[in-house]
Each structure stands twice: as C-alpha cells, then as structure tokens.
Amino acid sequence: MSSTHVSTTINGQAVEYVCPNDASLLEVLRDQLGMTGTKEGCGSGDCGACSVTVDGRLVCSCLVLGVEAQNRQVETIEGMADKNQLHKLQQVFLEKAALQCGICTPGILIAARSLLEKNPDPTEKEVRYWIAGNLCRCTGYDKIVRAILETAKQLREEAA
C-alpha cells in the first residue's frame, strides 16, 4: 500500500503526516498522532464514538480516509476545551452526570457541539435524533439529552 503526505489543520494547529492511502482518519489520529481521545467502537460508522468534524461537518472518522483531511480543518475532542477552560457542554456533562463509563462521551460531545452550532434551541426530539448515531450503553440517554438541552439553554442565556 502506497502512502501519501498530508497537510491539514487539527484543532487549529497545522499538522503534517504521511499515511497509507487506505488508513482511516481515525487510525491516523489514534495510531499516528497519539490523539486517543477519539474512540473506536465499531469501525463501521454505526456507533459514533469516533465522531469528529471536518470543515465543520460532523463525521465518523472511521469512515473518512486520512488522505481526505488534506487542506481541511479537523476538530477533535482534544480541541474542545479552551486551554484549561472547559467548553460549556463539557462542564454541564459533568454537573449533570451525563456520563458513566465515558467511552462514548467524546463522540457525543462533538456531535452535541455540532448540533448547537446549527440549532441553538433544539427540542428534545431534535436532540434525540441528532445523537441517534452515537451509541451509549450505560446511561439510557436520559442525562445526556438533559445535559445537551441545559447547555443550549445556558448558551442562549449567555448570548442574550
């Protein structure tokens, strides 16, 4: 398998890597760049644990090739907090106990941020359908949905 040199931006930082042409973005992030915050639950786009955004679009990084990141903006969980200042979603997830084992949490946080960027005032149903591609086996989703709705409310209040 031949490899390709890729220039991209990850969490605002210019990054260069050489990856096999068949390597997924997830594989590049985790195995080559040591960014293990993005998780692999299935490798087939069914669980959402590997959610990242590419040019602002929510994707499963296991379904994107590493070479496709060329000249794009990739955002992962490692870039969600602003230095030691947690993102509002991260804070509220902790306050509302919206995680148990935590393996799905990075993917769900990325997905939720993507939702709130597009829709700052989602209904419960909109939240549930938006994160329907992110499996969680511990929580039954209740506290996750509540935390996303609560974050949306707080962000709207801050913006007002």
Partner: protein, 743 residues
C-alpha cells in the same frame, strides 16, 4: 448483627462530581486501546468460520515467513491449564475442536495491524465440519448433536440429550396442593433470544511477558485480579509475577469479568519477545465474547379470585454456549423472589450449544426468569380482572418472609417501591389508542465478596484511598464520599484510586452490584482503624486514657476538659504524624457479608403500530430501593441504563443464527441496541430502606434495574395489542404476526 447506624449525613446524598470526570470529557482518560509500548507489536486472532469442526491441522509456515510477522501461536503454544481452567483456556484458543462460529484457532503478532491481518490469511487450517446445534429447544432433545460429551452432572433428570449438563431446583411447599386451592390457573411457555452486553469499548489489552515468566498486562476489565488469576492458570504463571493494571473501562455489564484475548496476547509476547497490543473488532466482540443466554421457560401459576398466588412453578432451560457453565441457578432462585408464597418450586437447566461461551450480563439469569414469572402473573390478573399493582402488593415479600430460594428476608423496600407506583403521575395518566401499560417487579441478591482496600492519612491531612475495583459508573466518587462522611471532612480532601494487582490484595471484579457496598464498607473500616490509631497516639501526646479522645465533626477532641486541649484537625494530626510514630494508614481485607437484597418495580407505556407491529416506548418509570443513595445521580444513572438495556432486550436485540450455525448479525447495524431517538426520558424514584448490613445502609443498585424491564415491556405490549406475546424480542415481525393471528 446490624452494621447500620442511623445518623444525619453531611456528604452522602449530594450530587458531587466524579474525580475522573474531567479526563473523560476531554479525551484524556486512558482506556484499553489508548496506550502503547516501545517496540510494540500488533496482535490479530484467526477465528473458526464453522459452528462445529474438528481441527485436523494448522499450517502457520507461510504466515511466519511474511516480513514483519514476529510470532504465530496456536493451542500448541499453551501449557496444560490449571485444574478448573481447562474451559477458560479452550475458549481463548481452540484445541481439538472449534466449538462455535468465531472460536479462536490461531493468533499472529506483527509489526503493524496490516501485516498481522495479511498474515491471518496465510494460515492454513484444515477442518472437518461436525454436526452442530445452536437453538436451546433442539439442543435439549434426545438425538441432538452433542457439543461436549461426558459433562452431564449427576442430578440432571432423564429424558434430555447430554447437552443438558446441569440441574438445580429451589422452593418449598407443594405445587399440586397450591394449584388445587386456586380459582384460576395458567400454564405458559416463554422464549427469549440471546442478547449481548453491548459495551461500546471492544476488549483491548497490551501485554508483556518475558522469558523469565514475569509480565505486565494493561487491560480493560471489570476485574483485573480475576484476569491475572485466569491468565496465570491458563499460561502456567505465578500470580505475583503478572502485574495487571486496569485501564479506564468503556462498559462491561458482566461481559468483562473473564479472559478472551489476554492470555493470547501474553503468549504472543512471550514467543515474540515484544510487547503485544491486541484489540478486538466489533465483529469479534459479537462473535466471540460473552453474549448472554437464550431461554426456553415453562411457568405454571395458581391464583384465587381475590389475587392471592397459591402456587408458582417455573422450569427454566438456559442456553449457555459451548461450555458447561451458565446461570440457571441465578434464574431459578429469583424468579418468584418478590412474593410471599406458600407453594413455590423452580427448576433450572444449563444447556450447552455451538454458540460462544456466555458471560454474565447484569443480574445474570434473573431478567428472563422475571419475564416469564411476571408475564404469567399479569395474564392471570387480566383473566381475573384484577389490578396488577394490587395483586403484587397483596403477595409482596416482607421482612421475615421465607424467600422462594430459601433464606428469610431482612428489611427491604419492595412494599415501599410498590406503594410509590401509586404516587407516580405515570401510573395515573390516561392511555391513548393502541397504547398499553405494563408493570413488573424484579429482584437481585446483590453481593459482597473478596475486598481489599488501603487508606492513608497524608502529612497535609488529606486522605488517600487505594482500592482494586475498576470504576465504571462513578464508584471512586461514592467511595470518597463515604470516607469523607466517616471522617467528617470535605469530599475534596479524599481521593480514591484504583490500583494494580501488584499493589493490593485480592478483589472480586466490579460485579454483583458489590463495589459501592463492599469497597465502601472496607474503606469505612479503614477509616475507623485510622481514627483508632489517631486516638491511641493523641492519648499518649495528651497524657489521657484513649477513651478520652473522641472524634467529632472532623476533629479529635479531648474529653478531659481539665487538660484545656483544643480539638485537632486532620491537617494538624498529619503534620505531627512523624513525631507520634510515623505514617498513619490502614488496610482492610475480608469477604464482605451483608449485601442487602434490592427490589425494583418498573412501569412501561408502549404504543404499537397495528400496521407494522413497530413498538415505541412512550413513557417509562423505574423505582428501586437503593438502601442509601450515596450519589443520587449515579443511582438514577444505573436505573436508567439498566432499564434501557432491558428495553433493548425486549424489543430489538437478538442473536440470529443461520442454518449453518453462523451468527448472521455481528455488527451494531444489525444487532441494534437502543439509540437516543428510540427512547423517552426514563423517570426514576429512589426508595431508601437502609440495608442492615452496611454502616450507611447502602444496597447495591447496578443489576436490579435490568430485571423488570423485559416483563414490564412485555406486559405493556400485550395489553396494548390485546394479544399475549411470549417470545422476546418483540420485533415488528413477531408483533405483527400476533396482531394478524388475532384477527
């Protein structure tokens, strides 16, 4: 003797944040696949494509010759397993026969995942396929292909094939006499299909095993002490020489209490002379790790016109995979546990088949038995036109009731849970067209078991707690809270850490709903030892008798007022520890007794689409006795998570086997666990009837929540449609067939 002492709590009951929280929302937490070692190789496992086959030969030469391959192992590379661990070893790496689709037959370690994958294709295995059986009903029938010969226990009754390997029975009274007293009776057969624990993190480990038999293992597991002991038994190692560190764990639910890949990774490391990382794919998780049982269950019940259950009988066949084990006893014991019965009898049978070796799944055995029992009770309630809640209250077990499995109950909260149903808005809300409401009660024993904890007073007065149970849902927070409560200090002054097997005594895994109860109690005992040590030292320092030193509000007080001594805080005591005898700490190791039973009652509303048979859960309430909820968020989380797993089992989740005995749906697309858009909010009510066996009244809460949902959903769907469903999951085709048959 009661351990419980009623008091006002200062820390317990607060919704405090977990110490591992920030790492988990920032992606910094290290799970099984999140670490590496210098010179590390990647392992991959070759798996049998046959349901049952004799392995005639394995030729690994072409794989070994591939550039980058550093080791290939087969069963020939494993020593004879220690007695009692033969099946564990055989499940990790097949011997003479591959017993199920997905059974490991060889493994490779190579310099990259790609090369390892390529090498698997170069291994030539010659199989002779053998007759197979995967379904429980076929497996128990005389003449069925026999999965494991010579395994039948003496007590197993005549009339079954040799796949029925184990028999248990429980109960008291006389079923025939009870049936004779009944005004109405019912006999039903129920079936449930196998589900998987479905944790989102696949099994993963990083193993190093040196030539001298010393090694290290990093692994996602519910119990690294068991992983150590099993790996050593399978590989002929000494426990002291294998240090196992538990990573953060991405879910387990019982499925991560045994070894699958760990001994294989260790064997590859030993042979290659490198560290080996082995991570399962999702397909491997579904094909080759512990799913749960499938069942065939018969129930016979008698009831009087006013709702008293006069007789309760259940006969439960539990399909437990390719090896003799299973949980028929844990099904037969709790089937009728919520009820005070004069005549009760349950029989359980473990059945082997050509399926993966089952692993525990949250209250293993109980959800299906509860489904059968509570469905039959509900149907009798319908026949006799009785209120299902009133019938359950009328028959409910109390303190002093002789349970259906033998012991007499201590105080518990079943009645309070049932009474709480009446007070919910949910129970009193109207139902719409095509909607039905189901109710079910459930029980789990809870457990204590082998527990080791160490606790230290640091020189600045903060407290370090070191324990050996992987934290899945916030137990480090709960344990710190209990220690803070015991000392009368702030939660922030205590930090609890899960340590490796080289640094702590034996611990059972994080299973049996045991950790908050047992590890918490051990940590409280350590805290009390430290307070006693402090009292001894301060008595000397203050020149008073030790009984003149008292612990109140986080400080040591001198009761002898004539001394004029100011109370001392932990920071003050820690600061002078060096002058009063040195470091202050305590260890506690024992088998924790007194885990109080936990009852739960669930209410479920469903709506059924009469045209498609598709079921939606409209509303759900889970009520449970927690004894004392240390951190209520985490108790609610257990209730909600367990309920949704049970809903998945009731409606969607199913292992589907083809005629060829191969699993047809080994992926999250086709093995569909509930997603957010399938579910409503899960309302919870926490009842607190203190467990007499714990200083703060704690009961385990993790397993009971998955016991009632199968029945609660089943009763809701059956009432919505007006047709009784006796086969789970109630997938749209099954529900639609019922609707059409009734027309």
């Amino acid at each position: 003797m009661s351990e419980y002492q009623a008091k006002e709590f200062k820390v317990l009951g607060q919704r405090l944040q977990r110490p591992d929280g920030i790492d988990k929302v920032t992606g910094r937490a290290k799970y099984g696949a999140d670490t590496e070692a210098a010179g590390m190789l990647h392992g991959k496992i070759l798996r049998s494509p046959h349901a049952h086959a004799r392995i005639l030969s394995i030729d690994t030469s072409a794989a070994e010759a591939l550039n980058g391959v550093k080791a290939v192992v087969t069963r020939a590379d494993f020593p004879t397993a220690a007695k009692g661990y033969e099946d564990v070893q055989d499940n990790c790496m097949a011997g003479e026969r591959a017993l199920y689709d997905g059974h490991a037959v060889a493994a490779v370690a190579a310099t990259s995942k790609r090369i390892a994958k390529q090498a698997l294709k170069l291994i030539k295995v010659e199989y002779e396929t053998l007759p197979h059986v995967t379904e429980v009903e076929a497996a128990i029938t005389v003449g069925a292909p026999i999965v494991q010969a010579g395994q039948v226990s003496k007590r197993v009754p005549e009339g079954y094939s040799d796949n029925v390997v184990r028999y248990v029975s429980f109960g008291h009274g006389d079923i025939d006499a009870g049936i004779a007293q009944a005004d109405a009776t019912i006999e039903r057969t129920y079936r449930t299909e196998a589900s998987h624990q479905g944790y989102i993190e696949p099994h993963a480990c990083l193993a190093t095993l040196n030539e001298d038999g010393r090694g290290d293992l990093w692994v996602c597991t519910q119990g690294h002490f068991w992983i150590r002991d099993m790996s050593c038994a399978v590989l002929g190692l000494e426990s002291a020489n294998l240090r196992v560190t538990a990573s953060e764990i991405g879910g387990g639910f019982g499925g991560k209490t045994t070894v699958f890949i760990e001994p294989v990774a260790l064997a590859l490391s030993k042979k290659s002379g490198h560290a080996v990382k082995l991570v399962m794919t999702r397909e491997e998780v579904l094909r080759a790790t512990g799913p749960t049982i499938s069942t065939l269950m018969h129930v016979k019940l008698g009831m009087t016109n006013d709702g008293r259950i006069t007789a309760a009988y259940a006969k439960l066949f539990y399909q437990s995979g390719a090896y003799k084990q299973g949980c028929a006893d844990f099904g037969a014991m709790p089937a009728f546990a919520p009820y005070d019965l004069e005549n009760v009898h349950t029989e359980g049978f473990d059945v082997v088949t050509n399926r993966p070796r089952t692993a525990s799944y949250r209250a293993p055995g109980a959800p299906t038995a509860c489904y059968a029992a509570e469905s039959a009770i509900d149907e009798l309630c319908q026949q006799l036109n009785l209120d299902p809640l009133a019938v359950r209250l009328k028959n409910a077990a109390k303190e002093g009731t002789k349970s259906s499995y033998g012991p007499t109950y201590e105080d518990h909260g079943l009645i309070q849970c049932l009474e709480a149903v009446k007070d919910t808005e949910h129970w009193n809300a109207p139902l719409g067209a095509n909607q039905g409401r189901g109710l079910a009660a459930g029980f789990w024993f809870n457990f204590g078991g082998e527990t080791s904890v160490s606790t230290f007073l640091n020189t600045d007065g903060s407290i370090t707690v070191t324990e050996g149970n992987p934290d899945i849902g916030g137990s480090r927070a709960s344990i710190s809270m209990m220690v803070a409560e015991e000392f009368g200090i702030n939660y922030d002054q205590v930090r609890t850490t899960v340590t490796d097997t080289g640094s702590m005594g034996q611990n059972e895994p994080t299973h049996g709903s045991r950790v908050t109860f047992a590890v918490g109690m051990a940590a409280i005992k350590c805290s009390r030892s430290i307070k006693a040590e402090i009292a001894q030292r301060l008595a000397k320092t203050w020149d008073v008798a030790v009984d003149q030193v008292s612990w109140q509000d986080g400080k040591a007080h001198c009761l002898d007022a004539s001394k004029g001594i100011e109370p001392m805080s932990l920071p003050e005591i820690g600061a002078i520890a060096n002058n009063t005898g040195g470091p202050i700490g305590a260890h506690h190791g024992s088998n924790m007794e007194g885990a109080g039973v936990a009852f739960g009652v669930h209410i479920c509303d469903t709506e059924v689409d009469p045209e498609t048979g598709y079921v939606t859960v409209q509303r759900y309430t889970a009520i449970q006795d927690a004894g004392k909820a240390i951190q209520p968020d985490y108790v609610e989380g257990q209730l909600q998570g367990g309920a949704v797993q049970g809903i998945g089992w009731a409606l969607n989740e199913e292992y589907v086997y083809g005629e060829d005995g191969r699993l047809q749906n080994p992926g999250f697309l086709d093995y569909r666990i509930p997603v957010a858009s399938d579910m409503p909010m899960i309302d919870t009510v926490i009842i607190e009837v203190p467990n007499p066996g714990h200083p703060f009244g704690v009961r385990g809460v993790g397993e009971t929540p998955i016991v009632p949902p199968l029945a609660a959903v089943g009763n809701a769907v059956s009432r919505a449609v007006g047709v009784r469903y006796n086969h789970l999951p109630m997938s749209p085709p099954r529900v639609l067939a019922g609707i059409q048959a009734a027309k």
